[in-house]
Structures are given as structure tokens and as C-alpha cells.
């Protein structure tokens, strides 16, 4: 349904600009007319955050009765990158690592929202019997991690932070399922992985050494990030802004009635309500008002530190030879679009 080239505004998936309609909402977007698209395609992932709750509760559909919302599920940031580059989706969600990769490769999108800051749901678990107590003890051990994911970044950053030579650790590329299987066989000593696999590892003679939350306190931040196709954002600033208010509503609902939120997400997460709640709690959900902070997205003209996080992630990827080069900070700063989180 999409052109092979970088999409132009008029080629927005299924929504020609000519057929847009005026919206009643007021905005600060700066244009004389405020338009809403006829159709929006949102790429989401099954991560217990505000966007998933928005989808589960149908909040966006309520907010935009005249817009068709198409939810498209993805399993990895890599596919979101591809989809957004092919113009197949307008909004997407990906980890900070794939997003840094995308921006370093000049994919035409921008970060408009932080769906969650990764907290205790991603952690480094080691087998109790391995004798590993801290990151330093990993020397000479086998640790598994899905390459290219947020945990890959977290693990290697943690090693660097503790001054451990990554060459002294055997880092294996595995998907969570296979990590669990290898763990059972005692083929690996540790793994940096997310839920629900993490809980299984801990249950099977595992212990947590460090978590993404602890790392984030040391400046090694990972997050699940909302991205928007630049052309789409330029054309429909009002939609973006209103969608952020919807996401905020979801955050508020979660904060006020966590049990209801957990109940709504449990079937999507294929788990129980209690477990769903604890998974939600492991992530840090932020309101747009909080994201305006200089620590995160900041404001137009005064981009927040999240651009630095992306830049550091990009630099890290360069050291990993995953990407040939990372652009300078300014490039990452222009990849952040704090407009929508402004009041």
C-alpha cells in the first residue's frame, strides 16, 4: 500500500491530505487550519505501558470518532523501523536502541513521547550457583542477551561502567525463549532479559544482579519511545497533540485505578491480573507534563537530555561496530520533537 520512496505528506497511508477535515479542537500548532487525518496507523508493541492501555480501553477511538485508528502489532523495533520507513505506519513504538539506530540512519521520524522508562522489567539475572554477585563477577561467564535490544545496550553499558572488558565475557545472541531453554540446561550463567522470561529465570534458581532501573540512575537510560513519521507530524500537529492527551489519560487512569488497568491488560499479556499489575509497575509511566522536564524531551528550542541518551546509545552502537558512524548531538536533537508534550 506504500511507495518505495520516503513517503511524501500526500502519500500518508490511506489518508490523502485532500480529504482531511477540520477539527474542533484548538491547538498551538501555529497553522490557520487544524486538520485531522481520516486514518491513522499506529504501530504498537505488547509492552505494559500507556499506549497498550489506550488501545485496550479504546480511548483513541473515543477521542477521534471521525478518524479510523488502525492498530498494527510489532514484535521488534527493527520491524517498526522498516514499517515507518516504508510509510506503512504513521506512529510507532520502539526501544531507544532501535530508535537511535534509526535516527543514526536518518530515518524520517521523530520522538514525540516517552511511553515508558524501562525499569525493573529488564534485569540481569544470574544463576545462584554461578557465584556472580555483581557485574564485575561476570568475567569469564556466559551471558545471553537478544542482540540489538535495549537489554543488549544495558548489559554492555553496565560492563563498561564497571570497567569490565567485554572481551572477557562471552556474550551470546539469543531470543528470550531460547534463553530460558539454555538456562534450564545450565548452558549459560546469566542473561539480561525482560518479562515474562525474567521471572521464570528468577524462579529457576536465579537472582537479579542489576536492573535497567538501577542503571538508569547511573545515566544508562533505556526507554520505549513513541515515534512519528516527520511528514505526518508536520501535516497533523493537532492530531499528535490530541493523541498525547489520550496517552496522558491512560497514564492517569493507571495511576488512579491500577487494578482496572491491570485487568484490561492481562489478556493481552497472556497472564493473570496480579502479574499484569506487577509488570506494569516495573515500568516508569510518565505524563507529558513530566516529559517536558529537561531530563527527558524538554521543549522546542531547548531539547531535553533524552537526545543525549540517544546520542550515547548511538555512540555505543558505533563502538559495537553495529553502525558505521553516529551523527552529532544536533542530529539527535532534531530527532526529538517535544511539541506534542507542551501544554
Amino acid at each position: 500500500a506504500c511507495g518505495a520512496k520516503t513517503p511524501e505528506p500526500a502519500k500518508t497511508a490511506g489518508a490523502p491530505a485532500a480529504t482531511t477535515q477540520p477539527s474542533g479542537a484548538s491547538g498551538t500548532g501555529g497553522g490557520a487550519k487544524e486538520e485531522l487525518p481520516k486514518e491513522v496507523r499506529i504501530g504498537f508493541q505488547v509492552i505494559p505501558n500507556a499506549e497498550l492501555l489506550t488501545k485496550a480501553l479504546g480511548l483513541a477511538e473515543k477521542k477521534f470518532p471521525n478518524t479510523t485508528i488502525k492498530w498494527v502489532q510489532f514484535d521488534s523495533g527493527r520491524d517498526v523501523n522498516t514499517a515507518i520507513a516504508s510509510g506503512s505506519i504513521d506512529l510507532g513504538l520502539a526501544g531507544s536502541v532501535p530508535v537511535a539506530t534509526g535516527l543514526a540512519n536518518k530515518l524520517p521520524y521523530q520522538v514525540y513521547y516517552l511511553h515508558d522508562i524501562i525499569g525493573d522489567n529488564e534485569a540481569l539475572a544470574v544463576r545462584k550457583s554461578s557465584g556472580v554477585q555483581s557485574v564485575k563477577d561476570l568475567k569469564g561467564k556466559k551471558v545471553a542477551v537478544p542482540f540489538g535490544s535495549t537489554t543488549h545496550f544495558s548489559l554492555l553499558s553496565a560492563l563498561k561502567n564497571e570497567g569490565v572488558d567485554p572481551a572477557g565475557v562471552t556474550v551470546l545472541d539469543m531470543q528470550p525463549n531460547d534463553i530460558l531453554a539454555a538456562w534450564q540446561r545450565k548452558d549459560i550463567d546469566g542473561a539480561f532479559v525482560w518479562q515474562p522470561t525474567l521471572a521464570k529465570l528468577v524462579a529457576l534458581d536465579g537472582q537479579i544482579v542489576t536492573t535497567a532501573k538501577k542503571l538508569s540512575e547511573k545515566g544508562i537510560v533505556t526507554a520505549d519511545v513513541g515515534i512519528v513519521r516527520k511528514a505526518f507530524a508536520d501535516q497533523y500537529p493537532a492530531f499528535l497533540k490530541q493523541y498525547v492527551t489520550v496517552l496522558d489519560d491512560a497514564v492517569k487512569q493507571y495511576r488512579s485505578k491500577p487494578a482496572d488497568a491491570a485487568k484490561a491488560l492481562a489478556p493481552i499479556l497472556s497472564t493473570t491480573e496480579a502479574d499484569s499489575l506487577s509488570q506494569m509497575n516495573e515500568l516508569v509511566w510518565l505524563l507529558s507534563s513530566e516529559q517536558r522536564d529537561a531530563k527527558y524531551l524538554g521543549a522546542p528550542g531547548k531539547i531535553g537530555d533524552f537526545a543525549k541518551v540517544l546520542k550515547e546509545t548511538g555512540d555505543f552502537l558505533v563502538t559495537q561496530k553495529s553502525i558505521p558512524a553516529a551523527p552529532d548531538l544536533a542530529a539527535f536533537q532534531s530527532g526529538v520533537r517535544p511539541d506534542a508534550v507542551q501544554p
Binding site: 520491524d79 506503512s88 515474562p196 497472564t271
Partner: protein, 258 residues
Amino acid sequence: MRSHPLAMRALSLIAVLCALGLWWAAAANEWVSALFVPSPQQVWAAFLDIAREGYKGSPLAVHVGESLYRLGSAFLLALVTALPLGLLSGRIAWIRAITEPFIEFYRPLPPLAYYTLLVLWLGIDNGSKIALLYLAAFAPLYLAVVSGVSRVSKDRIHAAQSLGSGRWKVFVYVMLPSCLPEIFTGIRTSLGIAYTTLVAAEMVAAVSGVGWMVLDASKFLRSDIIFVGIILMGLIAVAIDGGIRWLERRIVPWSGKE
């Protein structure tokens, strides 16, 4: 060859029952971790649940239907392209010279390696999924047809020409029936391969399909659902394959008796 079809059916059944028994025993005695190999009872319960409630928003029939639709369209497309192209390539050297390098080249490429490009060109809807399955199904079918054609005795073609068949009639009335046994083998292989590509095809931007179901369940370590999906896929495949073999027996009764 001198066998009693019924007795053989029974033997197959016994073998399958034995395997089920083994599975049951393995699960009951925890020979393998229950995390990965659920008990037959669990799988049955999961099946009943999915059959009743559906899986993540769609009834089971929709998942199966979606997968079969993708598979079916891709396979039909492969059939109507690989068959004529294979027949032509087998017979006309220059067509083969032009097509074969590309087919030989893409054929062994892992779908995972080029799926991204397909998504880029065809988007995230059924288009790219069907294209992936199509590419998987095309090559083995083409290969089988070409190899079938090259094994048709030249004198049979000569005979047809002597009886007045022009180039095209030779294809339709002689090559095609002569290659039918090979074509059937090709169809079976090709469907099998397309089938194995199903999970990969439903990996990107899908929320339906049996392949997606298995994939999604595996993310949440729901091995009972994984098993339901796998068994379902296996049974459907066996049914399809059985149908094709039945067709083969009906259409090519002379096979092996020439």
C-alpha cells in the same frame, strides 16, 4: 508394495498413539521441563479454551482461515507462474538461461534475510506476507517442473510432433501430463516449504494467523498454546498433503507403470 492398505493405516495409527503415550509419560514424569513440553491434558484444555474463546481477539477459525488464505493465495500464484515458466524453461534453452540465474540465486536465500525488503515494497498488509510465501513456494515447484521436463523422453515429444502438435500443443498435451508425477512431488514439497515459512511470514505486523499465534504465545512462554498451534498446523498440513496424494492417485494412475 503388496500391502494391505487397511493394516498399514492401523499401523500408522498405532505408531501415532505410541508417540502420544510417550508424550504423556514424558509430561507425567517430568522427563522434560513442563515449561517447554506441557502435558497432553494441558494442551487439550488450551485447545478447548481457544476453540471456545478465540485467541487475542479473533476466533480460532479466523486464525486458521487467515493463514490458509495467505498460504492458498501464495500457492495458487506459485502454481500459475511456476508451472508455465518451468515447462518453458525446461524446453526452451534461452528462457531457462535468462530465468534460472535469478531463481537459483534467490532460492536459497533465507526469507528472514529479505523479508524486510518485501515489507518495504509491499507494505505490512497481506501483500508482503503472501509475497514471502509465494517466493518460498515458487522455487521448488519450478525446479521440479524443469527437472520433470528434462526427463521426458525426447521420442515422446517427437511422436507428438509427428502427430501434428505444434510447440504449444506439445506443452499442454504432452509435457504437462508427462511431468505430472514430478509436478505432484513439486507441489508437495513446495506447499511444505511455504508452510514452514508461515511463521516467518506472520512475524511482521500480524495479529492473526496460526503462525502468529504460535509466535505470540512463545513470547509469553505459553507452551500449551504453542503446542496447540503446532499440532493444528501439523494436522492441517497432513490433511492438505493427503488431499494432494489422493488427487495424484486419481490423476496419475499410470505413474510407475510406464
